[in-house]
Symmetry: C2
Subunit: 364 residues, 2 copies
C-alpha cells in the first residue's frame, strides 16, 4: 500500500514543534527535547506519538490539565549506591526526563557496566521504544518500563481494571549485526483502549480475550468492552504486575488512583525505570569461529531467521524500514491530513502556517 | 484435591541427593548445592525439577552425556566494569553456578545498587524461579534468563524451531508486603515439549496456537505437533528472542546447534544472565501517607487485587502455599511413586533405601 507523503524538512518541523511547546509554557530545553522526540516518532512511523498526538495528549492530560508542570526541575534523591540514581521528576515533561535519565544510565553503564535510574513523580513519556532505540543506536543495551497513566487492564482471573497497560521496552545495539537496533517494545494489554474505540467506530470485532464487558466477562464486541485484558493470560498479567511492583518500590501509589487527581494524601503520578548495560560488560570475548561480538549476534540472528523462517520479522524492523524511507525522502513524512493538524498547531502558537505546496512529495 | 504425602525429613533427603551427585563424580560442594536446589524445588511443589527429575536430566544430558562436567572450575573473565562480572562456567553443574552467580550479583548490588553476572559455557540450571525466589527471600529484586537446551520454538511467522523455550524469571522481596516473594517465572513457549508428550499419552487436545505440525501450521493434535509456538504471538517471540540476543552478546553460538555436540567449531552451550537490584537503590523514600517501602508495595498489591479481583492469584502464590504445606508437615512432601524413584537413586549409589513406613504422613 503506497502513500503519497509530504516531505517536511526536519528543522522546519522541529522549529514549529519547539514553538508550540514554548507557547504552552515549556522552557527552551524542554521544547527542544519534545521536538527531538516528535521527530524520532515521525522518522520511525510511530504516528500514535508524533507531534500532533504528543501535543494533543499534552493538552488533554499534561500542561493543559495540570498533569505535567512546564519548567519543573528534576531533584536527585541522595543515594549511597554508585551504580543507581533516583530522581523526583516533579511532573516535568516525560520526554525531557526520559532522555536525561537514559543519558544518566549510559554514564553509569560506561563506568559500572550497568546503571539504573528510577524516576518518581513522572509524567507519561509517550513511547518507551524511542528511548531504548536511541540508546541502542549509541551502542548500549537499554530497557525501560513505566506505569501507564490509567488503570485499564483487568488482572488475570479478575473483573475490574486495576493495572495500567504498562509497557516494556528493550533495545539492543545491533546496527552492525543486522543494520538496525532490535527493539522489543509493547504494552502488556492485547490492544490499547484507543484501538477498542477505533473498532467501535469501524464496526469491527475485537480479537478474542482482548477486552471484558461490565461484568468482567471477555467480549469481542467493542460496544460492550469497558476494560482490557493482558496478553498471554497469566504471563502477560505477570509482566504488567512487574511495572506496578517496580513503581511501588520507587514511590508510586495506588494504580486505580493514578492520574485521578484528588487531595486524598495519595500520589497520582506514574513512575519510570531505566536501565542500561554496556555490551562489553557482558562479553566473554570467546565467540565461536573467531567472530566479533557483532558478528556473533549476526550469526545467531541468521540462524533464527534461517531454515525456512526467512519471512519472519525482527522486532524494530518495521520502524527501521520507515526510517529508511524517511532518509530516502530527505525529510519527515506526513499525510495531507497531518499537515492540516500542523496548521492548527501553527495557529495555536501564532506562527505562520507551512506552505504545503512548497514541500517535496514522496510516494511509498 | 487432597494428596496423601510421605513426609521426608529435609536432612535425610539432602544426604541421599548429595550422595547420588557425588556418586556421579560431582564434588562435595556441587553435590551440596544440587541437594539444596532439589530441596527448594520439592519445598515449593516444583515437581518437574525435584531430585528425581534433576538426576534424571543429569543422566540424559548432564554428567551422563558429557554435557555437564563434574568438578569444573568457574573462570572469571577480566572486566574493566565494577558492577558487572562475566564467568566462563566451563559446563559446571548449572545449580552450583546459578547459586554462586546470584550471590555475586547480590554482592555487587549491595555496593552499586545493581549488579549483573553473565555466564558463558553453562549447563542448564533447571528452574530459574528458584534462584530469584531465594534472592527475593533475602531482600533483593532479582532477575535471570537463560537459553534453553534445545531449539524447540518457532519464531512468530516462521515454520522451523530455531529458538529455545527461553524462560524469564523475576523475583521481588515482598515477604513483608504480602507474606511471600512475588515470582514471575515462565518459559516463552505456550507449553513445554514434555506437556505435548503428556497430552499425546492422555489423548487430549493441545491449546490453540501452542504447537505446529511438520509443515509449520498450528495444530491442536499432539500427535502432529513437532515444534512449539511462543505465547502471545509477536510479543512472546520478542521475549524469547531477548534470551538469544543476550546469549549472543555473552558468547553463545547458534541456537539450532545448542546441546547438539559436534566438532564444528561452534559452541554448543547455553548462557545465563543474572541481575540483582537492591530495593533501596530504587527508592525515592517518598511514599504516600507515610508508608514504608514494604507498606507501599502492600497497598499497591491490595489495590490491584481489590475491587472485585479478590480471587486473582499473585505469581509465586501457588509455590508459597506449597511451601507452607511443607512447613506444616515438617518435612519435604513426596508421593509413594516418588519414594520408589528415591529407592532407585539409593540403589544407584549403593545407599540403603529409605524405610517408607518410618515416614510421617500428611494429607493435603
Amino acid at each position: 500500500m503506497s502513500t503519497s507523503w509530504f516531505v517536511v524538512p526536519e528543522d522546519q518541523h522541529n522549529e514549529l514543534v519547539r514553538k508550540a511547546y514554548q507557547h504552552r509554557g515549556y522552557h527552551e530545553d524542554e521544547a527542544a527535547e519534545a521536538a527531538r522526540f516528535c521527530a524520532e516518532a515521525a522518522r520511525h512511523g510511530i504516528r500514535t506519538h508524533n507531534a500532533l498526538k504528543a501535543l494533543h495528549l499534552d493538552h488533554l492530560f499534561g500542561s493543559g490539565a495540570g498533569g505535567c508542570v512546564p519548567g519543573a526541575e528534576i531533584e536527585e534523591v541522595p543515594s549511597r549506591f554508585k551504580g543507581a540514581r533516583v530522581w523526583n521528576a516533579n511532573r516535568k515533561l516525560g520526554q525531557s526526563v526520559a532522555y536525561r535519565a537514559m543519558d544518566a544510565a549510559i554514564e553509569l553503564a560506561d563506568e559500572y557496566g550497568v546503571g539504573i535510574v528510577s524516576v518518581d513523580n513522572a509524567f507519561h513519556y509517550l513511547w518507551g521504544g524511542g528511548y531504548v532505540l536511541d540508546a541502542a543506536r549509541r551502542g548500549y543495551i537499554a530497557y525501560t518500563n513505566c506505569t501507564a497513566a490509567l488503570a485499564e487492564v483487568v488482572p488475570f482471573g479478575g473483573r475490574t481494571p486495576t493495572l495500567g497497560t504498562n509497557p516494556h521496552s528493550w533495545g539492543f545495539p545491533t546496527v552492525e549485526a543486522v543494520g538496525f537496533p532490535i527493539v522489543v517494545d509493547w504494552a502488556t494489554s492485547v490492544v490499547a483502549m484507543g484501538r477498542v474505540q477505533q473498532f467501535r467506530r469501524e464496526g469491527l470485532e475485537l480479537p478474542p480475550n482482548a477486552a471484558v464487558d461490565a461484568e468482567g466477562n471477555p467480549t469481542t464486541d467493542p460496544n460492550k468492552a469497558v476494560a482490557l485484558l493482558p496478553f498471554g493470560a497469566h504471563k502477560g498479567y505477570g509482566l504488567s504486575l512487574i511495572n506496578e511492583i517496580v513503581a511501588a518500590f520507587i514511590g508510586g501509589s495506588l494504580p486505580t488512583l493514578r492520574s485521578r487527581w484528588a487531595e486524598d494524601g495519595e500520589k497520582h503520578t506514574p513512575c519510570f525505570f531505566f536501565q542500561v548495560i554496556h555490551p562489553e560488560a557482558m562479553s566473554s570475548g570467546a565467540f565461536a569461529k573467531g567472530r566479533s561480538q557483532a558478528e556473533n549476534v549476526r550469526a545467531v540472528i541468521e540462524d533464527i531467521l534461517g531454515h525456512g523462517n526467512e519471512k519472519c520479522m525482527l522486532p524494530g524492523q518495521i520502524e527501521a524500514e520507515f526510517a529508511k524511507k524517511t532518509e530516502a525522502a530527505g525529510g519527515l513524512l506526513f499525510t495531507e491530513a497531518e499537515l492540516k493538524g500542523f496548521d492548527e498547531i501553527a495557529d495555536e502558537c501564532g506562527e505562520p502556517r507551512w506552505d504545503h505546496g512548497a514541500f517535496a512529495r514522496y510516494e511509498g
